[in-house]
């Protein structure tokens, strides 16, 4: 699992999240996200086009990031989900609480 900042657009910092977000990687993911948002970033878009797999541990990490940003008046958006990952989000009802974009640079 890795997180790479790709660019900023319309006030959102875009990060590519790659690999697997699961019970083994969620703690690292949380640390990496903390590190990046403590600099004051509060509007993020996670580009998930190269995220191959997510389990409930990954969902928890995403939800906790979204809550933190919302509490600061910011927002988390997700983009470009692979079909398997999209199914997990839909089944969990996350597609109703976190904005999901087709492309990371969409409005």
């Amino acid at each position: 699992m890795e997180i790479i900042k790709t660019k900023e657009k319309d006030g959102y910092a875009i990060f590519a999240v790659k690999g697997r977000l699961d019970a083994l990687t969620a703690a690292d993911f949380n640390l990496m996200v903390e590190e990046r948002i403590k600099t004051g970033l509060d509007r993020l878009t996670f580009d998930l086009s190269e995220l191959d797999y997510i389990s409930s541990a990954g969902l928890r990490a995403i939800l906790s990031t979204a809550k933190q940003l919302q509490a600061r008046g910011g927002e988390l958006r997700l983009a470009a989900l692979q079909p398997g990952v999209a199914t997990v989000f839909k089944v969990s009802g996350f597609d109703k609480i976190i904005p999901i974009l087709k492309h990371p640079e969409d409005d």
Partner: protein
């Protein structure tokens, strides 16, 4: 045991999760499951195994056995056994999927995902073991 079956038994530790999951992925591949369904099988098993690793032995080092049982109808059953405290994951209530972001509890989704991605589930406590069976059919 049929020829595609098999069993792996390892200490209930997070570091062994990849070995359990490659065992199940290989069993699903041999049984002819397509990649997308194999991912869902891996997901359901990850959730079940992580639960046992995290809670069954309350800090003591116990073991988990995972057995693959291919069925003649093309489906694949997994039997997961541990000797930890009695716990029926299937008895857990579904999480609230309708609340807004700020109110949504962080967690509680693992067992729900097991139920969503398995076609058949069963839990029994016998001979001091938790025996969880998850059955997967092809799409």
């Amino acid at each position: 045991m049929t020829e595609n079956g098999g069993l792996i038994e390892l200490p209930a530790a997070m570091e062994n999760l990849p070995r359990f999951l490659s065992f199940s992925a290989e069993a699903a591949t041999r049984q002819g499951f397509p990649p997308a369904r194999r991912n869902q099988i891996g997901l359901a098993l990850e959730e079940a195994l992580v639960n046992i690793i995290s809670y069954a032995y309350a800090g003591d080092r116990g073991r988990i056995s995972l057995e693959a049982r291919p069925r003649d109808d093309g489906s694949l059953a997994f039997l997961i056994r541990d000797r930890g405290r009695p716990f029926n994951p299937l008895a857990k209530a579904d999480p609230d999927l309708d609340s807004e972001l700020a109110e949504r509890p962080v967690g509680g989704l693992g067992i729900y995902l097991i139920r969503q991605f398995s076609d058949e589930t069963d839990w029994q406590r016998c001979e001091n073991e938790n025996r969880l069976t998850l059955v997967f059919t092809k799409p």
